[in-house]
C-alpha cells in the first residue's frame, strides 16, 4: 500500500518466490504491507520477523491467517482486526 491512508494506492509487487518467507519491494511512500500465513504456520504476525523497519521507520504489516486479520504494532503486540476468515469478505 503506497501513498497515504487518505489516498492509498494498492498495487501488486514482485515476489522473491521463496517458501515461507518473502522479500517485498518497498518505497519511501509505502505505508503498509499485507501478506498471509499458511495454516500450518503461526497464526499471528511472526515475531519479530513481521515487525519491519525499512528506512528506519516502523511499517505496519497486515497478516491474514485463518485465525483472523492482524496488524503489527511498534509495541510488539499484534492487534486482531477481524476474527477468523471474516477478513476475506468485503466490509459492510
Amino acid at each position: 500500500m503506497r501513498g497515504s491512508w487518505v489516498a492509498p494506492w494498492f498495487g501488486p509487487v514482485t515476489s522473491s518466490n521463496a517458501a515461507y518467507s518473502n522479500s517485498i519491494p518497498v518505497q519511501p511512500n509505502t505505508f503498509a504491507i499485507f501478506h498471509t500465513h499458511p495454516n500450518n504456520r503461526v497464526q499471528y504476525p511472526s515475531n519479530p520477523g513481521d515487525y519491519l523497519y525499512p528506512y528506519g521507520q516502523f511499517l505496519p504489516n497486515y497478516v491474514g491467517t485463518r485465525s483472523g486479520l492482524f496488524v503489527t504494532t511498534p509495541q510488539g503486540t499484534p492487534v486482531m482486526l477481524r476474527p477468523g476468515l471474516d477478513w476475506t469478505k468485503p466490509c459492510k
Binding site: S16, A18, R41, P54, G76
Partner: protein, 231 residues
C-alpha cells in the same frame, strides 16, 4: 595498537576473519541489519526496536553463549540461525589451544515451533511478556558433535577466503516478511575484541542469492547437523 589487538592480529586466520567481519560491518541494511559492534555480546538494546531487543534477549536465554567465557580457546565462533517458523539452532565452534575444534550444537527438539513462534503464542495467549519466563518454557537440546577435523578446517579455510564487497548487500528497497535471522559472533575468550554481525533474509529457496556469509553458515549448519544425528 593495544597488546590484545596485536595478539589477535598475529593469527592470520583470525586476521582474515576480522577483515571479513569488518567488511560485513559495512553491509548494513538488508531490511534490518546490525553490524560491526566491537564487542561480541548482543547488540546494544538501545539501538533496537523493543520487539527486536526482546527477541534477542530471549534468543540469548534460549541459546546461551556463556561457554565462550569458560572454554580456553584460540577463538570461538558462534553461528545462530533463527528462522521465523521452525529449526532454530546455534553452533559454537571453539579452536582449541593445542589444535582441533570443539563443536557444540544447540537445537530445538524435532517438530518444535521456532523461538519466535513460541514467543508470539506465549505472549498473545498466556499474556507472559518476560523473556526469562518465556525462556523457561522453551526446550533446547545441547550436544557435542564430533565433526572430522578436515571438514571443519576446510570450512574455516573457506570463510577466511571470502571476498565481500562492502556494498554488495546494501539494499534498502526491500523488506522480508517471515525472514530468517542469522547472527555471527567471533570472539576470543578473555579478549574484549570481537565481532558481531546480524543478517536477515530469505532462507528457503534463495540459497544461491543469499549473502556469502549466510551461505557459509548454512553449509556449516548442514555439516554439523549431518554428524549431530542421533544414533
Amino acid at each position: 595498537m593495544p597488546e590484545q589487538v596485536r595478539t589477535l592480529w598475529r593469527s592470520r586466520w583470525i586476521r582474515d576473519v576480522v577483515m571479513v567481519a569488518a567488511l560485513l560491518a559495512l553491509t548494513i541494511c538488508t531490511n534490518f541489519t546490525w553490524a560491526g559492534t566491537p564487542a561480541a555480546p548482543a547488540p546494544p538494546a538501545e539501538d533496537l526496536p523493543p520487539v527486536w531487543a526482546r527477541y534477542f534477549q530471549l534468543a540469548d536465554l534460549v541459546f546461551p553463549r556463556k561457554v565462550l567465557e569458560e572454554t580456553p580457546s584460540e577463538f570461538v565462533l558462534t553461528l545462530r540461525v533463527l528462522p521465523a517458523f521452525e529449526g532454530d539452532s546455534q553452533i559454537v565452534i571453539s579452536k582449541k589451544l593445542r589444535g582441533g575444534y570443539t563443536v557444540t550444537y544447540y537445537s530445538l527438539p524435532r517438530g518444535s515451533k521456532s523461538v519466535g513462534w513460541q514467543l508470539t503464542e506465549i505472549t498473545v495467549e498466556s499474556k507472559i511478556e518476560d523473556p526469562v519466563e518465556i525462556a523457561k518454557r522453551i526446550k533446547v537440546d545441547v550436544r557435542d558433535v564430533d565433526v572430522p577435523w578436515s571438514l571443519i578446517s576446510g570450512q574455516m579455510d573457506r570463510i577466511a577466503k571470502l571476498q565481500l564487497s562492502p556494498l554488495e548487500e546494501l539494499d534498502t528497497g526491500f523488506v522480508t516478511v517471515d525472514a530468517t535471522t542469522y547472527q555471527f559472533w567471533l570472539q576470543r575468550v578473555g579478549d574484549p575484541v570481537g565481532f558481531y554481525v546480524c543478517l536477515k533474509g530469505d532462507v528457503y529457496g534463495q540459497k544461491h542469492k543469499a549473502h556469502p556469509l549466510v551461505r557459509w553458515m548454512n553449509e556449516m549448519k548442514a555439516l554439523v547437523e549431518k554428524y549431530a544425528r542421533p544414533e
